[in-house]
Structures are given as C-alpha cells and as structure tokens.
C-alpha cells in the first residue's frame, strides 16, 4: 500500500509534483498514467526516498520507506532510468543487493530464472539490450519478495513477447495480494492490465478512478441518432439525466444518458422514424487525451507558431 498526502516536489522554480493525494491498494494493479513530464517518475522516486519531497508525505505500508528495517521486502522498484553498473554481471549486481538484506543466493538464482536471464547472468550488464536490462531491473525489484511492486514504464523497449510477459506478471503479482503500481504514458497498455487508474498531468492528479468510470466521465457512450423531426425526438427523449445536443438544421442529435436500445424503443413508441442509431463509444485513448489535453507539457504543433 502506498499513500501520498499533499506530496509536492519542486526543482527550483519548476513544480514537478504539485500537492498530490492518492492511495494505491493491495491486490490490484494500479496504473499511473500521464503524459511525459507529468511527474510520474518523480513521484515514484519520492516513494523510495531517492528524492525528498518539498512538502507533504508519502508512506509505504504505513511508514516512510527509509524507516523500514527491510526496505526491499516492502517495495521492489524498477525505475525508468538504468540503475546498474555496466561493468558488473547480472548475477553480481543482484548479489550485491541481496547481501544488504541477507537474501539467499538461491533467491537470486530464482529471480534470474524467473526473468529468463540464465544464459547472460554471468555477462557484463553493460552489453545488455534494452529488453534484457528491463528484465534485470525486474529481477532486482522482485528480489526481496516485496509486498509492493512499483514499476516505471516497464514495457519500454520490450518486444511483443516481453510486453505479454510483463502483463501476465503484473496480474499474477496482484492476484498474490501484492500492491502493484505501474506507470505508463500509454493508455491502451494500461487498459489491458490496470484495475484502477490514477491519471496525472502537470504534477496534479486529474482522475483517480477505474477504466470504465474514466470513459464514462469523459463523455463516452454517446448515441448518435438521426430522424426527420429532431425537434420532436428531443421532446420525447428529454429527462433529468439525459443530455441532448444537436445543431440547428441538422437531422442528427447526440444523446448521452440513454442506450441506443432505449432511444430506439422510445422513438418507436412515438412513431418517429429513425435514419441512424449509433453508439459512439469514446476510445480509451480519446478519454485520456481529453483528460490531459490541458496538461500536456510539450504540444506538437502542426503549423509554425507565429511571432507574437
């Protein structure tokens, strides 16, 4: 369990994380989603005490990370940036970490096997591909049998097989009752594994919700309906939690709050002929873009900016 309370980090003038509150619960995969520069990595660095918060607190299983007597047993972290010495072999790297906690050599071998690094375990880690480096990072993260697993962009640089492997690993870790906290800037990837989502942008929490709730909130499940008499259709559909929009002179209305089935039945009851009845489910990617559109740090512009 990870709990952040008013967590803030400033680097000089720039506020990377701005009064963030969230709780990451055990037994589920929680996605930490946001565009580049949203403060995801900084937040994760503060969780394991690499960066000190400017204000606020973050605790792991009820305590500050550094106050635990066996930190690697509490949180296993894979950070985005490489955290290995390129001159050391994968085995020696893991042993170096294992010694600090009295973790057995058998456990190190077990992690090497789990991540499929047997054939390269004695080679210098500097020569590893991006994918092998990620696997080594995951072996290090799981070394201490941690109650909380925190991975920053774990699928970066992995081939499709590796991506699938991570996906299965995350769900099985959560099924074992562990807290799993995974960051990504790819909504589609998160939708496949995450039970819960924390969406951040510009250092603030934009949403703390489930995938379905997020889609609904951002305006998913809109039904497009066309008829010869949109004015009358609007009247018969009107209700307290229904939103209907349409352009004057257009036959088309967009309706939220009723399913296509309900709209069709209502129209039939009143003898209104429909020409179109389409559920326009907003995609996750669109929901995410909608939510973070104001928070994206570096917008790509299609036209050159004019001088002011």
């Amino acid at each position: 369990m990870i709990e952040a309370r008013q967590l803030t980090k400033q680097y000089g003038e720039k506020t990377a994380v701005d009064g963030v509150d969230f709780t990451v619960r055990p037994g589920a995969v929680t996605g930490f989603l946001g565009p580049n520069g949203a403060g995801k990595s900084t937040t994760m660095r503060m969780v394991i005490g690499l960066d000190a918060p400017t204000a606020g607190t973050v605790t792991v299983n009820g305590r500050q990370y550094e106050r635990h007597s066996a930190p690697l047993h509490e949180v296993g972290a894979l950070l985005e940036a490489r955290s290995i010495h390129p001159g050391r072999s994968a085995f020696d790297h893991l042993m170096g970490l294992a010694y600090t906690h009295g973790i057995s050599r058998a456990r190190v071998d077990e992690m090497i096997e789990l991540t499929g690094l047997q054939s390269v375990a004695r080679k210098r880690a500097g020569g590893f591909s991006l994918g092998m480096g990620q696997r080594l990072g995951i072996a290090a993260a799981l070394l201490g049998d941690p109650a909380t697993v925190m991975l920053d962009e774990p699928v970066n640089g992995l081939d499709p097989e590796g991506v699938l492997w991570i996906r299965n690993l995350l769900t099985s870790l959560a099924a074992e009752g562990r807290t799993v906290f995974v960051s990504s800037h790819l909504m589609a990837e998160m939708a496949l594994v995450a039970d819960h989502l924390i969406v951040v942008g510009r250092g603030r929490v934009l949403a703390d919700t489930t995938v379905q709730a997020l889609v609904r909130e951002v305006g998913g499940d809109t039904v497009l309906v066309s008829s010869a008499d949109p004015g009358r259709l609007r009247q018969v559909l009107a209700g307290p939690d229904i939103e209907i929009t349409g352009r004057p002179g257009s036959e088309q209305l967009s309706v939220t709050g009723r399913t296509a089935r309900e709209i069709g039945l209502t129209a039939a009851e009143h003898g209104i002929a429909l020409f179109e009845l389409t559920t326009k489910a907003i995609s996750l990617e669109e929901a995410f873009m909608e939510l973070t559109k104001d928070a994206v740090e570096y917008h790509a512009t299609s036209t050159p900016a004019r001088a002011a």
Binding site: E66, A70, P71, Y99, G102, A147, E176, Q212
Partner: protein, 282 residues
Amino acid sequence: MSIDTGIRPATVAPLRPVDPRLKVTGPRVLRSEWAKLWSLRSTWITLGLGLLFLIAFGVIGALRYKSMTGAGRTMDPDFADSTALSLAQFGVPFAMIAFGVLGVLTTAGEYSTGMIRSTLAAVPRRLPVLWSKATVYGLIVYVVGLLGAVVAFAITSAVVSGTKAAMSFTDDGVLRSLAGSAVYLSLAGIIGVALGAVLRSTAGGISTMVGTFLLLPGLMSLLPSSWQTHITRYLPSNAGESIFALHHDAGTLSPGAGLLVLLGWTLLALGGAAYRLRRSDA
C-alpha cells in the same frame, strides 16, 4: 480481456508473513560493498597497478643507485643520500594516485552509471553505504599498500646491500615507516571515496584528488616564505608523507602529528560526503 472495475478493499489479508530474516544490518552492508568492489574489473586493474608502482619504482630506483655507486659516478646530492627505505618508497606517490582514483570511482562511479539508485533503494538510510565503502576500501588499500611496501623494501634492501644505503627490516623505524606508508595510502584512498561522494563526478573527483595531493604543495611557493613552512606541512600530502618519513626536520610534522592531521582531513572529507549524501536527492 475483461476489465475489473471493482476496487478491492484496503484490508486484504496480508500477503505473506513478513520474513524476519530479511533485515538491513551494518555487517550486511559491509558484505555488500565488499562484493560490489571485487565484482568490478577496474578494481583488480587499479589495485594491481598501484601494487606494481609500489614495487617496480622502488626496484628501478635501487638498481639505478646500485649501478651509479658501482661505477663511482657522482650523484645528485639528494639521490646520494638515499637509503634502502627511501628508494623502496619511491613509488608511493604514484600508487597514491592509483588508489585515490579507484577510491573516487567507488563512489562517483555509482552516480555516473546510475547504480546509486539501486544502492540507495536497498539502503535508504544512506550513511551505512558511505561508512561501508570507506571501511572496505580503506582496509583493502592498507593490506595491498603494506604488501607492496614490504616487498619493495625486501627487494631494494637486497639490491643495495653492501652500499652506503643498506638497511634491513630490523633497523630502527623501518617497520614503522613501512606501516606508515600503507596508512598514508589507505587514508588517501578513503579521501578519494569521500571526494567522489561529495562531487558525484569521476572527472571532478579525480581532478580534485590530483590537485590536492600533487599540485597544491607546488602552489605553496607562491606564498610569502614565512608562511610556507607553517602551512605546507599541514597539507594532506605533506602531513601524509611525514607519517612514513624516517627523518624529520623543522619543516615537517612528527609521524604522530602527521597522522592526526591527515586523519583530520579524512574526517573532514567524509563529513562533507555524509552531508551531501543525506541532503541531496540521488
């Protein structure tokens, strides 16, 4: 794949009983730093170089002395006053640089590679890492330095036996001096460890190391001469050399005082390293 929207309550049964055997302790951090140091090729190469400098330069100096006295040629007065011990210690400043550089690498190298993030994630209290690195490295350099000093003296004293420079292990002050040179190398290595942790840059740490030990004494000649002797003898290099010098004059510290002064510099550097390690984000 279906999406599970249920937020499970925070009161899920504990995953597994916390394993009481897993715990960070001082000896375990020491063990870790010991293993980390020996698992890098640069450690073996640099320690080997330091040892080579200690032995080879001493032996070369002794052979040169022997051939010059044998030929009856006139020597530079300083060289003519050499003893087996001073010849054997000819390589100490070179070895000091090698050991100092490796000391810088043990800490600054963790920052330049990113290894520090793994290290501090395992030991988030941080300071045990610094103490362990300094202890492990200081101890290793002491042993290697002592080995080099003893071997160099054994060979040089054999080479120059029968000349004016002849000395043996049983001569007054020889053992103290040999041990003293190893202490000097060890403390210089620890200063390297501390400088690497303060500056977090290999280039910066090595430059500062070389500047402090090799260039600073030369710069002292810019000072008014009345100040020179008072300040120069307290510099890390001069204080360190007086730990193993056989003869002391008014311009140098006694071995004991030299040791105290160099210890002071070492503690100062370690203090700076501890402050930076605790206060700055990794």
